[in-house]
């Protein structure tokens, strides 16, 4: 199973500043090993961020997102202590969900 995400959600004024760092190889399927065989593609294709049961951000990704993806965004309508939940799914069907409280 993949390593946990690092999620930081902080209040900035009346908005929530979310920063997420995921641990994922993000293989494009184009890269080759030294012996000439292709490294099979393996990347996160969908990311969903929700807070209080509502989806705040949903992202569709291609292989061009960097390895160990970083994502930052802002939203309003939440307060300190609310949980921010992040889920990703990759091209092998693996998923991972992590949560963090807004600080």
């Amino acid at each position: 199973m993949a390593d946990p995400m690092r999620i930081r959600a902080t209040m900035a004024g009346d908005k929530v500043d979310v920063k997420i760092l995921m641990a994922h190889p993000m293989e494009t399927g184009l890269r080759k090993n030294p012996d000439g065989t292709t490294v099979p593609e393996h990347y996160i294709d969908t990311v969903t961020v929700s807070c209080k049961g509502k989806t705040v951000l949903s992202a569709d990704w291609g292989p061009a997102v960097s390895k160990n993806p970083y994502l930052a965004f802002r939203f309003s309508g939440a307060a300190k202590g609310d949980m921010v939940s992040v889920t990703w799914k990759d091209t092998r069907g693996e998923t991972r969900t992590d949560e963090a409280a807004i600080a």
């Binding site: 494009t28 705040v56 951000l57 992202a59 569709d60 061009a64 997102v65 993806p69 939203f75």
Partner: protein, 154 residues
């Protein structure tokens, strides 16, 4: 000899059926994934637009795309996109000369700022495009990025 011809035709028929099954099943698999596969396979801005059902995009100064002018490592290029347009629904990041132009698409829920920051791979020196979808259509901003070390092949 007749029977061998029959056998040959039957084999060809089976192969054709198998091939047809593969070609027909593929789009269904694509539908099962929520991601718009056609958009991610697109090779140009216009192709991405048509995959999402948009007409044409207008260049807009209200779309603010922030990237480094020179990216030493194309595998990790920070990108920030902010839209000042009212009613922004989604932001897409496109890289003109990547094997697949569309890198990422972010769709916003209610009460979410039209702002997103991430890191992308850029294969070679080219334009980065931020495409913003609003209720009034599509708008974009573009900026060239110089890459000294490509993001593919490593």
């Amino acid at each position: 000899m007749k029977s061998s011809r029959r056998h040959f035709l039957a084999t060809v028929g089976q192969w054709a059926a198998a091939l047809a099954a593969v070609t027909v099943l593929r789009p269904i698999a694509a539908l099962a994934a929520e991601r718009n596969l056609k958009a991610f396979e697109a090779k140009s801005l216009d192709a991405v637009l048509s995959a999402y059902g948009g007409g044409s995009a207008k260049e807009s100064a209200d779309v603010v795309l922030t990237t480094p002018e020179i990216a030493e490592n194309g595998a990790v290029v920070p990108v920030t996109v902010e839209s000042k347009l009212a009613g922004t629904q989604s932001i897409s990041v496109l890289i003109e000369k990547n094997p697949g132009v569309l890198a990422a698409r972010f769709a916003f829920g209610e009460g979410v700022d039209a702002y997103v920051a991430t890191r992308v791979k850029v294969a070679e020196t080219c334009n980065l495009i931020a495409l913003v979808q609003t209720a009034d259509g599509y708008f974009y901003a573009q900026k060239p990025v110089k890459v000294t070390l490509g993001g593919c092949g490593g």
